[in-house]
Amino acid sequence: MTNLVFFDAGLMGYSLAVHILLVTIGMTLPIIMSISEFISIKYRNKMYDVLAKRLANALIIFFAVGTASGIVVAVELFVLWPKFISVLGQVGILPLYMEVFAFFTEAIFLGIYIYFWNKFRSRMRHWVLSVFISIGAVMSGVFITMINAFMNTPRGFNIPYYLSTGKIAGVNPLAVLNTPTTWVEIGHVVGSTIFAGSAFFLAFFAYKLLKTEGIERNFYRKAAQISAVIVIISIILTVIIGIESITNLMVYQPEKFAALEMNFNSGPHVSEVLGGFLVNNKPVDSINVPGLMSFLATGSLNGIISSNDSLSAYAKSTWPPVSVVHNTFDIMVGIGVLIGVLMAIFLVIWLLNVKKIRDRFISNKLFRRILSRKIFLDPFDNPLVLKTLIVIGVLAAFLLEDGWVTDEVGRQPWIIYNVMTVSAAANTSSSVIPVGIAMIAFYVVVLPVTILFVRRVMKKRDLSSELGVGQ
């Protein structure tokens, strides 16, 4: 039975791990596409128009897989976790229901946007559809994150009564829309998803900039510029909200926070534990930075860490896999900081190369000296910067998965925090196994095949003829 619970959790985790990659693409592509089309209309630039159309092509193909993958996750949610869905249905399913309409918005407007493109006499009206598609995609993410926030900080029913009787009472269906962690989680999830998606596309466009020349290169340069702007804005938001979400963890999920930090101490001047593993309830092979945890939590090296934020305060049976979540958390923070620094440097280089800024300061000797260095070349013409952007794209995808693992594994053994355990919620029917294995194998094939197919479709396009050059 334990193995079946583990299998259910593994299958759900695997499906979600694939799905969030598709969501990342599905949420970011419409934004880049919408911006491209808007620029094409506003500045009457044909190249952006072609870019929007190419992205629309890619979007519909990814949407085919993404939408099916979304159905897989929705079905798995109720098939693999019947008791969870039973409680959710009676208390907090409203966001999931709302998500359906967001999903409809995306699906219907995407159909109109793509298949009836030439039926719009006003380009601006056609562009408005892309806004609806983007809103639909983002709102799907918003609503599903509300469910996740409910799982982390359940509200909207009489929990003590449920724990003692197993019956649901005192239901407030709207409470699930506004749990203490809802809005911070939404900000963090949406921000990081758009960041990862735009970083992924920026990496792709950077790769193309390294490989192409002439008009083709100019085309990818424009695409890269749009993606870069989105990356920079979203990373700033993600960092700010990420800090806020850690504070939320301390208050509302202290046990999870303690596990992420692998912290057994309380009081003033508490050390930050970096890396390491938990052996016999003690951190080993870790780096301890004295006072840093107190400083990060309170702003003072001697700030007091509450006993609630220490794993010692909780029974071991309710700890998540501490070594796993602690390290995924540290990796997430480490990579996040690294990307943040790299993107800040990128932004500086880019700003130094903006024509207006350059013209204004070019008379300054120091400015000229700085610009004469190779590293300060236009970032979209600088192979080193472009290669770094490719690395950032890969890291961003890893970061997204790592952050998600941290959040989900960090909540273990609970499916609804302090209310229902994963094992209590799971479907222990053995018939899950064969189709589950088939699903895992299928996904392994589907994602690379889709990416290769999109690549091939794009490769078949001839930019000159799309632009009408030479006709």
Binding site: R44, K46, D49, K53, I61, F63, A64, V65, T67, S69, I71, V72, A74, V75, F78, V79, P82, I85, S86, V87, G89, Q90, V91, I93, Y97, V100, F101, F103, F104, T105, A107, I108, F109, G111, I112, I114, Y115, F116, W117, N118, K119, F120, R121, H126, I168, V171, N172, P173, N427, S429, S431, V432, V435, A438, M439, V446, V457, R461, G468, Q471
Partner: protein
């Protein structure tokens, strides 16, 4: 009648109507390859919406009957997950068939036929699960295990499924205007309807004069098409929708044969809140779908794709979807007003 159950039935009827029109596509693709442009012109813009309706029904059911979920999960976990898996394949093969390039290893015809096979299996599973849920066939008394042998032990079960598919095959001629041996349309529709209704009766599912009237209308549509060669998709859509809704309403409240659906209803405040969401979301959805229909018909009236048939490349795919955007000459004018040119207006 309970309002919540009614809403759930309506959503189910819309979902199955869409799915059955997709089944018509499946039969058309297999039966007559010349139907591909016509069928894809209907199917390409709408396949995403059909998938979304599936999610709509699932979540609506979760909202209304959360306590039924454990039973459904234990009974149908295998077929539901299998159908979901195949559903991904359905999406993939359909979208791949749209964008497949000339001289590719898999041509468009092959891809739509694989799509057809996969989709047929999905529909087979969904109709079987639907039948088992309302009739209780195959489910054990404790609602914890499903037996395929038990399900198929009553000959009326395959009869119900075969009747549905035969009718759909008959109607596929009408829905997509298939010309190839169109005399088969009334023949298959009639046989299908007879088998279907007789199976329903054998399964102790309620039928009455409404069933016969709707069956007569559906049969008349196929006869009319055979005689005149004309048909309107909207009429077929409405007839199929009413037929499915009537099956649900005539068998109102039945679940797993003997159980009462109302006993599973969600009594918490979530139901009322969900009703408000359904009202607002449903109004928006209706408006969106009407807009979609408006745009769809607009393209139909202007024969949008005909001008491009001689533009080279794959003739079939050239006529469909956004792939077309790339072979339209002068699609993008420098001044950004490409859709206002005389030629494009005609499009």
């Amino acid at each position: 009648m309970n309002l919540y159950i009614m809403i759930n039935y309506v959503i189910l009827a819309v979902l199955f109507t869409f799915l059955l029109t997709e089944a018509m596509s499946v039969f058309s693709f297999i039966y007559d390859k010349r139907s591909i442009p016509t069928v894809k012109k209907y199917l390409d813009p709408i396949w995403g919406v059909i998938g979304t309706f599936a999610v709509f029904f699932i979540v609506n059911t979760e909202v209304l009957y959360p306590s039924i979920m454990p039973s459904i999960d234990y009974l149908y976990v295998f077929p539901i997950l299998l159908a979901t898996l195949l559903f991904i394949a359905r999406n993939l093969f359909l979208v791949f068939s749209e964008y497949i390039w000339k001289n590719a290893k898999f041509n468009q015809l092959m891809l739509v036929r694989i799509y057809s096979l996969v989709t047929f299996l999905v529909l087979l599973i969904l109709i079987s699960v639907f039948l088992s849920i309302i009739s209780g066939m195959g489910a054990n008394s404790t609602l914890t295990a499903f037996s395929v042998a038990g399900f198929l032990s009553n000959p009326a079960v395959p009869g119900f499924i075969a009747g549905a598919f035969l009718t759909v095959f008959g109607l596929s001629f009408v829905f997509y205007g298939l010309q190839k041996t169109k005399f088969l349309s009334p023949a298959f529709t009639l046989i299908g309807l007879l088998v279907f209704i007789l199976s329903m009766r054998a399964l102790n599912l309620t039928t009455n004069y409404i069933t016969y009237i709707l069956a007569a209308v559906i049969f008349a549509l196929s006869v009319l098409y055979y005689l005149t060669g004309k048909a309107r998709r909207e009429v077929i859509f409405i007839a199929v929708f009413l037929s499915i809704l009537s099956i649900n309403l005539l068998n109102y409240g039945k679940v797993f044969g003997e159980k009462v659906l109302a006993s599973y209803l969600n009594n918490s405040a979530v139901s009322s809140a969900a009703l408000a969401v359904t009202a607002v979301g449903g109004a928006l959805l209706t408006a969106f779908l009407l807009f979609f229909l408006y745009m769809y018909r607009r393209s139909d009236n202007k024969e949008d794709y005909d001008e491009n048939s001689n533009s080279g490349g794959n003739e079939i795919s050239d006529k469909i979807g956004i792939a077309n955007l790339y072979i339209m000459s002068n699609n993008n004018k420098e001044d950004g007003k490409e859709h206002k040119t005389r030629k494009n207006r005609k499009r």
